[in-house]
């Protein structure tokens, strides 16, 4: 066999763009990514068709404020977000579990750009998945929407927000989950923390009938973030808290702040810790 220097190899400096390309290759080249995304998207038509057609029989008796089309069309979000949060956590924790992080960081020894590139790929993936999910969900519900006395009308501000808030919400919540994964560096701990927060901590805060706790609950990540995708009349499909203290965009801002805080801690730890 020959030596490495058969041809002179062109090697260029590491840039953020190149790191993003690299992370994109990494994301695409894992079979598990495609499974997760397929499942996440599939929840949308599944739930949207199921819930819309279940309304067909009762729509005549329901009052119109409970017939908000986008709420039914996007109801797959509750489960899709879990899959995408899981994917976000594992994308970073698997680097540590498998040792891949040593390859990643030797190629990008300044570290933070590598984390940023991975975050960007995760967030854009969540955004795209949410968008596709919403559209597929809409298509799946379309045949029965009329019979259920509902519409999806993107010229209505609320409908627009409910529909396109879904990809935005998913982008923010996966960024938060990614940050938690980057802090904990363990798939089990990361997934348990994110699910624990969504399924145990947040409901606990909001269901305990004590005002201060419920106040705090309003500011927890999914409760706050889901304000963006809560119907003024029907509330949200995903959060236990029905508080309306925060406006839709304030709530989303609070979720972004949670994500930013988690990512900041992750960044500081990444700089400090041995890989």
């Amino acid at each position: 066999m020959t030596t490495a220097a058969v041809t002179r190899t062109t090697v260029q400096p590491v840039t953020f763009r190149r790191l993003v390309t690299s992370e994109h290759v990494k994301m695409r080249s894992l079979r598990s990514t495609w499974w997760a995304l397929a499942v996440a998207v599939a929840f949308f038509p599944l739930f949207s068709a199921m819930r819309t057609s279940s309304m067909v029989a009762v729509a005549a008796d329901a009052s119109p404020e409970y017939l908000v089309g986008p709420v039914y069309v996007t109801s797959g979000l509750a489960l899709a977000q879990l899959v995408l949060c899981g994917l976000a956590v594992v994308t970073i924790t698997a680097e540590y579990r498998t040792g891949q992080v040593r390859s990643t960081l030797t190629a990008a020894p300044t570290r933070l750009p590598a984390l940023g590139a991975k975050l960007l790929v995760v967030v854009v993936t969540a955004l795209a998945t949410g968008l596709v999910g919403v559209l597929v969900g809409w298509a799946a519900a379309a045949p029965t929407l009329g019979a259920a006395r509902m519409t999806v009308d993107l010229t209505q501000a609320e409908h627009l927000r409910l529909m396109f808030g879904v990809p935005l919400y998913l982008a923010a919540i996966t960024a938060f989950a990614f940050g938690v994964g980057a802090i904990l560096r363990s798939s089990a701990a990361g997934i348990a923390s994110v699910l624990g927060l969504v399924f145990v901590v947040e409901p606990a805060f909001s269901y305990v009938p004590w005002a201060p706790l419920q106040q705090i609950a309003t500011y927890l990540p999914t409760a706050a973030g889901s304000r963006l995708i809560s119907s003024d009349t029907m509330g949200s499909v995903i959060a236990g808290s029905q508080s309306t203290t925060l406006s839709a965009w304030q709530g989303y801002g609070v979720l972004l702040a949670w994500a930013a805080a988690a990512l900041l801690v992750a960044a500081v730890l990444l700089r400090r810790r041995d890989a």
């Binding site: 090697v11 260029q12 590491v14 080249s29 040792g99 190629a107 890989a275």
Partner: protein, 317 residues
């Protein structure tokens, strides 16, 4: 070129790299030797910025690793632990790595070919055998055509063809003027591959010299004597308590503590006929064991293994 200056690393209360200072020069293969736990892998990880030193500095080609704008062109590294996601194919792994430096897919296929992985490049790395994984790691190290190579036990798990490949590859890379720094526990392989050695024990450098010097320093360790009358010769020789005599075959003795003329004189005095009288040159292994005898941290409990780690008191090969 790799320059470590008073490099120090602690894990909890334990100092595992303790003020190491050494320079790895370009144009030759430098071996990194030391007992288990001596701090070799830790030093290599610090060199490529994965672990943070508690003190001292280490630079590669004149700058700290993280300062290089295209680090993979400066240093190719193979670490002792796995550094590949098992769910990704070998080709995808290398393409992702290549993408960070704008390296072409053609170069990826070139290193795959170089490492002999072409037929399995589409397979998930998790299915790779130890040696195949090692080849993938070497392919990754070569990807950026680096000026410096740092390889932690590269021949670990390789078949004889692979061992030979690594040896010729590293020798030719050094001949091109590159810096090659590798650790290994295989002394015979190291003797064939390396020109220079940095020997460490308990986190400290105990020797930094050309291989030939290190072997020569260990000296002639014994004299092999062949005679039909081994018993009589052994009796004659062991009258001097400073001499140690070991029978290595029915007609062969190995004598340490005396040179050939002394043994010949003793034989003549006893009227014993000698068929062969030959000084036995110490091997790199002997030299290494002498150097690190006091530095071994994890010593096997068996008495013969203990004797092995203190070659002066036992049999010679």
């Amino acid at each position: 070129m790799i320059e470590a200056h008073r490099l120090t690393k602690r894990y909890g209360p334990r100092t595992v790299v303790d003020g190491m200072t050494f320079t790895v020069q370009p144009g030759r293969v430098t071996g990194f030797l030391g007992p288990n736990g001596a701090g070799k892998s830790t030093t290599m990880r610090m060199t490529v910025g994965l672990d943070r030193p508690h003190g001292g500095t280490v630079t590669v080609n004149g700058a700290p690793y993280a300062r290089h704008r295209a680090p993979l062109a400066e240093v190719g590294v193979l670490l002792d632990a796995k550094a590949v996601h098992p769910g990704r194919s070998a080709r995808a792994h290398l393409r992702a790595l290549a993408a960070t430096h704008g390296i072409s897919n053609a170069r990826v296929d070139e290193v795959i070919d170089l490492a002999g992985l072409t037929s399995v490049a589409h397979q998930r790395a998790g299915r790779f055998s130890l040696g195949m994984g090692q080849r993938l790691g070497i392919a990754a190290a070569l990807l950026g055509d680096p000026a410096t190579l740092i390889l932690d036990e590269p021949v670990n798990g390789l078949d004889p063809e692979g061992v030979l490949w690594v040896r010729t590859l590293l020798r030719s890379l050094a001949a091109e003027g590159r810096t090659v720094f590798l650790s290994s526990h295989l002394m015979s392989e190291m003797a064939l591959t390396a020109d220079h050695l940095v020997v460490v024990g308990r986190g400290r450098v105990v020797a930094d010299a050309p291989v030939a010097d290190i072997v020569a320093r260990a000296g002639t360790s014994a004299v092999r004597v062949r005679t039909p009358e081994t018993a009589r010769l052994a009796d004659a020789l062991t009258r001097d308590p400073a001499l140690r005599v070991v029978s290595t075959a029915a007609d062969t003795l190995e004598v340490s503590g005396a040179d050939a003329p002394t043994i010949a004189a003793a034989a003549a005095g006893a009227g014993v006929v000698l068929h062969e009288l030959a000084p036995v040159q110490a091997s790199l292994e002997d030299a290494y064991l002498q150097l690190t005898g006091g530095e071994v941290e994890y010593r096997a409990a068996a008495p013969d293994a203990t004797a092995h780690a203190r070659p002066t008191s036992g049999a010679h090969r």
